[in-house]
Symmetry: C2
Subunit: 435 residues, 2 copies
């Protein structure tokens, strides 16, 4: 049973705060092991990666077999059914179309002193994408990470994907092909992150690493941050559904379960202004749980972290939602569009009953890599912006320097940075001499 | 003496790589101490902050005196000269004008299935800005951090600035006033970062923390990352000047020294296609160093990390510059504008001999918080983007779901996420039954 809360409960604030603060994930402290793995890869390169892959993935590689050959990729892709391929291609086309609109414009203008100011965006030269192996090996994540990088103009995009015991997921290779990935390595864990960040004899280093992974991968990404860029460290997935009584309880139940089935640490929340509807959804969840393939996982998540919160009205719902800052927010109310406009903190909003969150996981177009654990208060989902960077530009004319240089000189003096001031003064003196 | 290199030297590649890889900063390992300080502030709140301020800043505070009162701020601001105030106001106006152009647009469109897609940008609700106390207390940094936050629409902007022995820098308070900062606390160190991230009885928590600081502050920012957003951890400052012979060696020398005087770990590099010009600049640096106020610092930086690199032509200069990925890049060549267009990795470019880098530190308009230590390969300077976040939006119609839902169902099946597929299938079944 999930928790039932109502904003009219005398202990509501305490229980809601507890729900917000609930620690849903035990992060094992693997930092020491990861530090050793990174040092080993930096010292021994390929051979360290090969030794660690033999130990952790029970797979014997050589420098020549670290990377999938074009023939190996083609052979794996040939195993993919036409229907699966078509679905991946439709998803890729929609994700590409959405992300293509994210490319920001360069800018350049002259200000009132005649100075030219502006900026220019350029892509990261090389990016690496971590793809988990085994059970959580999701081709959709390959598309969601690789396509923004390629839209951004990243020249060299490498994937690392562990293949424990040599088992490969053909859909992952197919997704990589469709997305335009340039290199695929059959390695994983902290050793793969180290190889991407520092390079080995066979694997050239990259500038940015994105993609989900286990505790070892997360710890390794934290450690190489600064040497390379990384994306956010993702926590367990979450959904908040805000729904009024005019919904099919079974639809809402399935939306809640589609987060819960990800992970026992996932969290599914329902806010409704109708307590009877809330109970009907709870009943529908229980019914679906009887037959769901992943009922053990989904049931544990729903029991331990699920909640149904009854509110007096949608104003209360909006206020609670912003305190939750949900990764996924589904709005199933009559005025869903207007309600969306009142939300400040959410990773992605799914508007109206015909927009199940699963559409966003696969094929809607927006990215499914989204801020978890309340970080939508200060961060955004993955986008083209993660693979580009801005260079600011300025060009003074003599007239512009004459207009604003003295103030710079004054501020340099107030900060006791004499050379700063002199670098301006030397030029102003030339102007004053009519130079 | 700085290093002299030439791309024609037989050992150039080895020496250039050594220059790139030089470790310029010893980061003391203060992580353990910082962990204890954060735990203390989380446990004891105000009292922990007060105790730590007494110990580290020799200043006795109470919950009532943690924050500057409006009267105290006004009294400090009254100490600022009219000229300094006018210089700060001109700088603020120019920084505000530049950053106002950075606000990205919301977007919303219907795709070919009739689905509505888009995104919306919203500001972080509350941000905290760390301002160092003592010698490196720079009012210009207050403007550069606070103005983008206010342009972004941050409702609540708090500054923490230590005042060791009770000594305050009036210009810092004046800059905060001009930038529209809402709260100023006289605390610093890891305890100030912990207070901003977790809140105390007196200091409400924020969502994002930016601003420079010492090793304790940097370690604390790393630790609270995830609970709140942070900006990049800045390393020592750098400049690369690319100059041909048609420049005054003294101007270039002063530009190199205006980085070197920041810090003994700063790095100033010159690339030129004329070895004689390079020697003339070296002579000009030596001459200026004889009288420069901060000659001990600037001289050490120039001696230990400075370099003058002679290249055959500007093609070589561009290639080396992109390997360096400099924080500041000054282009003093006849075709500086065209050269700027060929650079891929740089934090900020200053174009032409009339644009000394110091203009960008204070008054040009672009931000002076820029990526150091080669991180311009994958990251950008501080901007309005650091204080906003994007919520993606999607709204399916029944027709859109009918068009793309089956592919989502197929992909969910391939990832063994049954509830995902069922959440789409339940809706498609309703449509097939004629809704």
């Amino acid at each position: 049973m999930p928790q039932f809360l109502s904003t009219t409960d005398p202990d509501f604030e305490a229980r809601f705060s507890a729900l917000l603060g609930a620690k849903r994930e035990d992060s094992p402290d693997v930092d020491h092991i990861v530090a050793e793995i990174i040092a080993d890869v930096r010292a021994r390169g390929d051979q360290a990666v090969i030794d660690l892959t033999a130990r952790f993935d029970r797979l014997d590689l050589t420098p020549a077999t670290l990377r999938f050959t074009p023939e190996e990729i083609a052979a794996e892709c040939a195993l993919v059914s036409d229907d699966d391929r078509a679905a991946l291609e439709l998803a890729a086309a929609r994700i590409r179309a959405y992300h293509s609109r994210q490319m920001p414009e360069d800018a350049s203008w002259a200000d009132d002193t005649g100075a030219m100011l502006g900026w220019r965006w350029t892509p990261v030269s090389a990016a690496g994408l971590y793809v988990p192996g085994g059970l959580a090996s999701y081709p959709s994540s390959v598309l969601m990470n690789a396509i923004p990088a390629k839209v951004a103009g990243v020249q060299r995009l490498a994937i690392v994907v562990p293949t424990p015991d040599g088992v490969t997921n053909p859909l992952v290779l197919m997704a990589a092909q469709i997305a335009g990935v340039d290199e695929i390595y059959r390695i994983g864990g902290a050793q793969a992150i180290a190889a991407l960040a520092y390079g080995t004899q066979t694997i050239p280093p990259v500038d940015k690493i994105t993609g989900p992974g286990n505790a070892f991968v997360a710890a390794a990404k934290r450690r190489v941050f600064g040497k390379v860029g990384i994306d956010m460290i993702a926590g367990p997935s979450e959904i908040l559904v805000i729904a009024d009584r005019d919904n099919d309880p079974d639809w809402i139940a399935l939306d809640l379960l589609s987060q819960a089935e990800h992970d026992e640490s996932a969290q599914s929340l329902l806010i409704t202004d109708d307590a009877d509807f809330g109970r009907a959804v709870a009943d529908a969840v229980d019914k679906r749980l009887q037959t769901l393939e992943r009922r053990a996982i989904a049931g544990a998540s729903w029991r331990d972290f699920g909640a149904i919160i009854t509110v007096a009205d949608m104003d209360e719902a909006v206020a609670l939602s912003d305190r939750i800052a949900p990764e996924h927010l589904e709005l199933c109310t009559t005025d869903a569009e207007a309600l969306a406009g009142r939300i400040t903190h959410a990773g992605a909003i799914f508007i109206g009953g015909w927009t199940p969150e699963a559409i966003g996981d696969y094929i809607g177009g927006p990215n499914h890599v989204l801020p978890t654990a309340r970080s939508a208060r200060f961060s955004s989902g993955l986008s083209v912006m993660d693979f580009i960077k801005r260079t600011t530009l300025s060009r003074m004319t003599p007239e512009a320097l004459a207009a604003i240089g003295p103030a710079a000189e004054r501020l340099a003096k107030s900060e006791s940075l004499q050379a700063h001031g002199l670098s301006v003064r030397a030029r102003l003196d030339r102007l004053n001499r009519g130079g």
